[in-house]
Symmetry: C2
Subunit: 450 residues, 2 copies
Amino acid sequence: MQVTRTLARFVAECRPESVPDAMRHQAKRALLNVLGCAVGAARHETVERAVSALVPFFGKGEATLWGRTERADAPHAALLNGLSAHVLDFDDTHPHAIHPSAPVWPAILAAGEHRGASGAAMLHAFVLGAEVELRVGNMVYPAHSDTGWHATGTLGVFGAAAACGKLLGLDEGRLTHALGIAATQASGLRAVFGSDSKSLHAGKAARDGLAAALLAERGFTSSLEGIEARRGFAHVLSSARDYAAGLDGLGSRWELAQNMYKPFACGLVVHAVIDACIQARDAHHLVPEAIARVHARCNPIVFELTANREPRTGLEGKFSVFHAAAAALVHGAALEAQFSDACVLDPTVIALRRRVDAEPDPTVAKMEAYVAIELTDGRRIEHHVPHALGSVERPMADSDIEKKARALGTGVLPAGQIDALVSACWAAEELPDARSLTCHLSPPANRPAG
Amino acid sequence: MQVTRTLARFVAECRPESVPDAMRHQAKRALLNVLGCAVGAARHETVERAVSALVPFFGKGEATLWGRTERADAPHAALLNGLSAHVLDFDDTHPHAIHPSAPVWPAILAAGEHRGASGAAMLHAFVLGAEVELRVGNMVYPAHSDTGWHATGTLGVFGAAAACGKLLGLDEGRLTHALGIAATQASGLRAVFGSDSKSLHAGKAARDGLAAALLAERGFTSSLEGIEARRGFAHVLSSARDYAAGLDGLGSRWELAQNMYKPFACGLVVHAVIDACIQARDAHHLVPEAIARVHARCNPIVFELTANREPRTGLEGKFSVFHAAAAALVHGAALEAQFSDACVLDPTVIALRRRVDAEPDPTVAKMEAYVAIELTDGRRIEHHVPHALGSVERPMADSDIEKKARALGTGVLPAGQIDALVSACWAAEELPDARSLTCHLSPPANRPAG
């Protein structure tokens, strides 16, 4: 089976009229959401460290660093915007644990600023790039992640290469090589979760995918079977693979339709527990002192990823279901403030966190949770969330995503620019070029923080 | 066992006086050899494609592209010099199938041009960087390569990170993070062997290792167990691992002592067959018409890597033991000219190639070969090479490496510059800075090719 070439042919041949309007709308939701996440993280210490290390090497400033005053060459912009898009763990998620936008949109906008590309062309490139990364992901899910790979990095590079290749107008042959160049650059280990390097994976995927398309455009060669060769991606980076499942319905069924947007600023696996805690708190007007004990029952993946009982930093707090539940019960929210160092070190939150217990239950779905709260007065509250807010079954509304992006942008960009940015995203198919969007992403130079 | 931290501590603490002079001499041999390989490939089509794709993004031209007139920022120079160093498959090799210099020396010289570094500091950084990449390699050899990874890429990034980290003066803690950042960037699939992408691996390792050191310098974090964590490098990228073996004798036994330099312009596994053919040809004044049949008996790895019976290009010829034997018998040499498209398509070579047969024999060592030649007059010549020229047991002399580098540089750099370059390499410990070496690597601008 010609897996790599089949995907390349799909990307080369697919015309905008073959894509349902609903997918273009998903692309706009993804765009606004990812820009909000990146702008909100623009001054995050992870981003500051990366920018300060790499700024001496920036080329011509043709591309925007979202939410920052510096400008960079396209590959550095792809790298740093991909990093900032993922650093808050607030970006979109496919059910198979891939964050589709953080590696792909930064690559597209950097290529678009470099070469000139219309909004319509960029939306189309995103739909195809996301489809490629998600379908390669389906071929190796779940064995690939189970092996220890961070799918956002290892699959994102395919998405960025496919999207940029489409934007550059590569033919089927060059797209096949671009996907091979992507395959041989795939990297990102789950060992670094909880450190700055996790978000580097998304940035690297964006930069390396863009490079794969640029190299292939010049005739740079790779394997024509980068995915399916005996020593290709699917064999070397996964203990199991199913090409037919990954290619099934290509061009008629769209994986992007499954894309989820997060209302809470942490890994999706904790969302159902947070949702249950906030709903219980609001329904019963709970205060921390009234809570004797919290018992959550959730899918075992929650423990695999977020079992940190004593987080010491905001970032570690994102990987602690115990902190997430306690902070949600104390604050009735789970935004960036609830995953700050201050909140993780808050004595009230710590005290409640130590009264939170959790139990893995394989009969509970990933986006589902049962929470039982024992009160000091002896009452017992039980709350069941069958589908967390933001799930495929209970998606965030467009207005929710807009509100989230506005909240993330506030303090980084002036209010008028945020308005213009939101409008530009919802009307992206009418934008004459990338810069008519990215011009809203640079704060006025020399403007003090806040 | 603290594997990553142990290596980081070794790099942070090791002082030049703890390194035997013989290792510094190996570093100089490696330097001259790798510069020759890169300069010889400076106008290769693989390099031309990569440079043309990436030149629009070059930053400040503080670093030299070896053998070319363009200048680039340090990361792009590391990438492109690493690529050109490996493109001819003529660079050095450790017995465990790693090419130590192509990912490490380009990173060191780029960092050296960027920050300023003495020749002595760069030699020391190379010894330590090579030691780290080779010892991580020993931990996962041979399972890692058998899985399908190209060790020059996946291990080279550790070497470049360690070497650049030493050059930047990182302490043990930051070096530990640098090795983690390296681990999570490790990539390079054997599926792309025979294409332009193979040499991209060495370049990416150089660029990404340099970036790992620069990021760690700014406090960018990673796992402190990038190598040994459950979802770290050694578990995810290898089916087996032995940390104790990799760390045994660290600082007293030097893996760099095993480094081999190639007299022939192709993979090391074919060298013994080539050597045997050239020796038989020269001893018996053989001409192609006199040869009825050639039978080679060699290690099975030769067939795994170079079983192409009908190569169509010079590059494919490097992966054909049949072509290598025929070309060596026709020309008495196996340099770049014997792996050109013209030689691969030469009817005399093709005719002889089809009379070459080869047999895998697990009792024959990797650098050993038996060749039996039946002549048209009925005579039979047998030749046994127990250790190919360039092996640890039969190393190339310094003068051989110098001669090879001069031959590779001719036509790219003026003779006077090659003289200066050779002198600078042999006296590298006295160079005040990187630029007093790299100034010899740029051809005079606007000088026509040849």
